[in-house]
């Protein structure tokens, strides 16, 4: 287990700017604690690996020499002496090696228990509560204390603990934000919670970790950790209903939204649309991505997605929506106004 190789790779990763989805670059207290245990375990295991490989190499060298020494006699004759004379020294060596191995394992167990306790003791004062529900293949997000909903994005205030309640509407999904905490399953019929705290601002990528069907690969979740003041600002904006359409085109777009199939699945707060099968779109235009972290949120992608979602995500529940050009442009105008 060459530890050096591993640290080289992670160091290189830290230099180049890229998406953060790594368990070895912790940005939160939970991931940090686990990373500490990882380092201890890696060091111990590397030492064991080196010791045993060394013993093996010495054994090979010794046995080879013994054979050369015996080369004068018949090389094929087996050495049967051990069947008649108990090999006390060898047996004692094996016994001691086993004792050392057992002590090593016990140390690992203690380190693990200690880490598990540390993880369970995150102070929960003034924790932010979020309810996250997994769907094939997107994330429904409800900020329960503050009373608003969003989808496919998490915003967290830096330094404040967060308790995420995990649910699923269909199959098993798993929330995994490697930079912030370990993963936890979202199992239909059960509720679980996971607590975490982001300690450094940044955008961390999360991805569903339990195989959940055809598009399991395309179920990502951008997690944005920002300063508390910035978070408050964001949350206040989320609580507001969708802005009234200001232009004719946008008004027409809203009518299209309400008349077309969209309302059956989507919600836009402040309108008649209150479907719950698909993501809440109240503040769609403010989100960085479309389709669960898959596409950058711009007009061209939005249009392409509405016309034929299955081109990007075969198996997604959203049906294709071939709209006349005028309706489509109005709809896009309207959706782009939902900041």
């Amino acid at each position: 287990m060459p530890a050096t190789l591993l640290s080289c790779c992670t160091a290189a990763g830290a230099v180049s700017p890229r998406v953060q989805q790594s368990a070895v670059q912790p940005a939160g207290v939970q991931a940090e604690t686990i990373f500490g245990l990882w380092n201890v375990t890696l060091a111990l295991c590397t030492a064991v690996f080196a010791a045993i490989v060394l013993a093996l190499l010495v054994a090979l060298w010794r046995a080879h020499r013994a054979r050369q020494a015996a080369a004068g006699s018949s090389t094929l004759a087996p050495d049967l002496a051990p069947l008649h004379h108990p090999e006390r020294r060898v047996h004692r060596a094996i016994l001691w090696a086993t004792v050392v191995a057992t002590v090593g394992l016990f140390m690992l167990l203690v380190a693990d228990m200690w880490t598990a306790r540390a993880l369970a003791r995150l102070p929960m004062k003034e924790a932010l509560r979020i309810e996250l529900t997994g769907h094939q293949y997107w994330w429904e997000v409800r900020y329960t204390d503050e009373g608003f909903s969003t989808a496919n994005e998490l915003h967290l205030p830096v330094g404040r603990p967060v308790v995420v309640t995990l649910k699923s509407r269909d199959v098993i999904h798993t929330l995994w934000v490697p930079n912030l905490a370990g993963k936890r399953d979202m199992i239909p019929g059960r509720t679980a919670t996971i607590s975490l705290r982001a300690d450094r601002p940044g955008v961390y990528r999360a991805q569903c970790a339990e195989f959940c069907g055809l598009q399991h690969a395309l179920m990502a979740l951008p997690v944005t950790a920002v300063a508390p003041a910035q978070y408050e600002h964001w949350a206040r904006a989320r609580k507001a209903a969708a802005p009234e359409p200001a232009t004719d085109s946008r008004r027409h777009g809203r009518d299209v939204f309400v008349r077309a199939a969209c309302v059956a699945c989507h919600t836009i707060a402040g309108t008649m649309a209150s479907g719950t099968l698909g993501p809440d779109l109240t503040h769609l235009a403010s989100r960085p991505t479309l389709a669960a972290g898959m596409l950058p949120n711009d007009r061209a992608n939005l249009q392409a997605w509405i016309v034929d979602p299955h081109r990007f995500k075969l198996g997604a529940n959203m049906p294709p929506n071939p709209l006349p050009a005028r309706d489509m442009h109005a709809l896009l105008d309207y959706l782009e106004s939902l900041e």
């Binding site: 287990m1 591993l6 992670t10 890229r18 998406v19 989805q21 790594s22 368990a23 070895v24 991931a31 245990l37 375990t41 890696l42 295991c45 045993i52 490989v53 093996l56 010495v58 054994a59 090979l60 080879h64 013994a66 054979r67 090389t75 094929l76 087996p78 050495d79 049967l80 051990p82 069947l83 090999e87 060898v90 060596a93 094996i94 086993t98 394992l105 690992l108 167990l109 693990d112 880490t115 094939q136 199959v171 098993i172 490697p178 370990g182 993963k183 936890r184 399953d185 199992i187 239909p188 019929g189 059960r190 970790a209 195989f211 069907g213 055809l214 399991h216 690969a217 395309l218 075969l314």
Partner: protein
């Protein structure tokens, strides 16, 4: 047998034990070597097929955002790869090798229940072929080899894909159960006189422990998949939380089988390794009893750790801590065995031939896999590592290191016994290095990939995650592995005709299989051996003893007592019969029919009953001989 008087005893034996000629005879074969050879070819075929599936996956993952293989085919590929390697290769190949080898190693003429042995092979073949046929017509399973519900239930996996998977798993595992029974009874009752349990080869011990694990673990997965089928076909609610079922029930049942499964793949090689190390170190294994106890302890402990596959499912913390402790504890017996092997090498005189090379590689690779296993056994670390490429790396280190490397070692080691000819050492060494390097190039970087956040079971990944280079390297490594396997096939094929003649004991081995001719005659031994030590061939002074009173003109074997291996009974073994084959066909119809209608279980049981009746119909001639020969055989010197 009219010409028995003029023939030599060896010819009479050959007449008595060989399989009948012709197509009908081919289908009637019950000789353990015939059945086992077919079994080995078929499982190796599935190994190659599973490898091709893996290559296709690696091609898809070589580049980010690749559109080479769509999500549907990819999900079928990884489901079939896991299913094939676990159910159609890893477990059966070890059972097949054992069926071939154990009677030779234990000094007897056949396995217990030879017709059931044949039946097990046929249903395994039919089940495996059905699974691949479904895949080739586009109905391959796509919910993962672990088939978690609710994804695998009728709501989220409509169509027949999961039904076919579930039924064929149950079907092929029936074969594994039968083979386990065959192996246990062969080991307990058919050892040569004098081969007490304390003198039994470690390979036989390993197969004994493995077979007991099969006996207790396989029913869990058969139960789980049967409950899944009834949920899907007759609307029961075992796994439906909305109607009183529980999605986690599946995971408990599946992993209660799934974790012991790893050990039943990994324990037989422990026996292979002990055989190869003793032979090439030119000395008996150090710590025989410690090895046996370690094997048994591993078998027991393997049932106590399944929950470490479920650390992310929000089970109570105290329970998880218990399973962490149990998972760490199983490292102790493995450590004991590794220490014993190193001590044997340390005190021996080494001959570095190809089989031993594979075993030495096993040490390094299994050690790495075992240590990453300790990491996964920790609840906290597991919540980061679970379901990532770190686990993919770990499990391939354990399974290829623990089973495929020793299996290649075993093939090189016993090939001369199997064919009468040696494999090429030069090609063997080439194959070894290609495999060893290719393996590490493919799987070592995946540890890093997992830590860097790549989840497993994804058919694609976006650019800019820092995963591109590692995935490309892994794909290149996969092709090195493929080239190595190809080289092995070439070597095995060429050496069948052109290899140097081997003789009975080319390596100077100490166990009984090296006493039979290479390849062994139908009856294995002309004279049944009597054993006086753990390595009977290394103690030639003790060999002249022989068993008297076994009739070479009858399919008779000697049964011995369970622990002391004292001669106990002579027993007439069943003769070749086509009925196991026909019954297997009827059973296949039942299982395949049940995929489409539950009523198939009712109406298709009729042909199964009829064919089984023919199979078991008593023959008067045989029962008369049985009655007349109720005399104990004896050992004479």
């Amino acid at each position: 047998m009219s010409d028995a008087a003029s023939a030599t005893p060896a010819e009479v034996l050959e007449q008595t034990w060989r399989d009948p000629p012709g197509l009908w005879g081919w289908l009637s074969a019950v000789n353990h070597k015939t059945i086992a050879a077919r079994f080995i070819y078929v499982t190796f075929g599935f190994f190659v097929a599973g490898g091709i599936l893996a290559l296709m996956m690696r091609l898809q993952l070589a580049r980010p955002d690749s559109r080479l293989i769509g999500p549907d085919l990819y999900n079928q590929l990884f489901t079939m790869h896991g299913t094939t390697m676990m159910f159609l290769f890893a477990v059966p190949v070890m059972q097949a090798v054992a069926i071939w080898l154990l009677p030779l190693m234990l000094g007897t003429r056949t396995v217990a229940f030879p017709r059931m042995n044949a039946f097990a092979f046929w249903i395994f073949l039919f089940g495996g072929v059905m699974l691949f046929a479904a895949f080739l017509i586009g109905a391959g399973p796509d919910a993962g080899w672990f088939a978690y519900v609710p994804l695998a239930n009728a709501d989220y996996s409509p169509g027949k894909r999961i039904d076919i998977w579930g039924q064929m798993i149950t079907f092929t595992e029936t074969a594994a159960l039968m083979e386990a029974i065959v192996i246990i009874v062969t080991i307990f009752k058919m050892r040569a006189p004098g081969m007490t349990l304390d003198r039994m080869p470690l390979f036989a011990w390993a197969m004994l422990v493995t077979s007991f694990i099969v006996l207790f673990a396989m029913p869990a997965v058969m139960l789980a998949s049967t409950a899944l089928i009834t949920d899907r076909l007759v609307d029961t609610h075992f796994y439906d939380p909305e109607l009183g079922g529980d999605a986690l029930l599946w995971q408990h049942l599946f992993w209660f089988f799934g974790h012991p499964e790893v050990y039943l793949i990994f324990i037989p090689p422990l026996g292979v390794i002990s055989a190869i190390i003793a032979t090439f170190s030119r000395r008996p294994m150090v710590g025989y009893r410690a090895m046996v106890l370690a094997l048994i302890a591993t078998g027991f402990l393997s049932f106590g750790l399944w929950v470490h596959h479920m650390f992310a499912t929000n089970l109570p913390e105290l329970g998880k801590a218990f399973f962490t402790a149990a998972s760490l504890m199983i490292a102790i017996p493995t450590a004991v065995q590794i220490f014993c092997w190193i001590a044997t090498l340390w005190t021996g005189r080494l001959h570095l031939r190809t089989p031993l090379l594979f075993i030495l590689a096993f040490f390094v690779i299994l050690l790495a896999g075992g240590l990453t296993g300790l990491m996964l056994a920790s609840v906290s670390l597991d919540t980061q590592l679970h379901d990532t490429y770190f686990v993919v790396a770990h499990l391939h280190y354990v399974l290829l290191g623990g089973a495929v490397f020793p299996m290649f070692g075993a093939f090189y080691y016993w090939y001369p016994k199997f064919t009468g000819r040696m494999m090429s050492e030069r090609l063997g060494k080439w194959q070894f290095w290609l495999f060893f390097i290719g393996f590490n190039v493919t799987f070592f970087p995946m540890h890093i990939l997992g830590l860097e956040g790549m989840p497993r079971r994804v058919y694609t990944y976006p650019d800019g995650m820092g995963w591109n280079a590692i995935n490309l390297v892994a794909t290149m490594g996969a092709f090195m592995i493929a080239a190595s396997v190809l080289l092995f096939i070439v070597n095995a094929w060429r050496s069948r005709r052109r290899g140097a003649p081997a003789g009975a004991d080319p390596w100077g081995g100490g166990t009984l299989e090296w006493r039979a001719a290479s390849p062994p005659p139908a009856a294995n031994f002309d004279v049944l051996p009597v054993v006086h030590g753990r390595y009977p061939l290394w103690q030639p002074a003790a060999l002249p003893d022989r068993v008297a009173g076994i009739d070479p003109a009858l399919r008779e074997v000697l049964l011995t007592s369970v622990t002391a291996a004292e001669p106990d009974h002579r027993m007439l073994m069943p003769s070749p019969s086509p009925w196991p084959f026909v019954t297997a066909l009827a059973t296949t119809v039942l299982f395949v029919g049940s995929i489409f209608t539950p009523w198939a279980v009712v109406w298709a049981s009729l042909p199964v009953a009829i064919t089984a009746t023919f199979w078991f119909w008593p023959r008067h001639s045989e029962s008369r001989i049985r009655h007349e020969r109720e005399v104990r055989p004896e050992v004479r010197s």
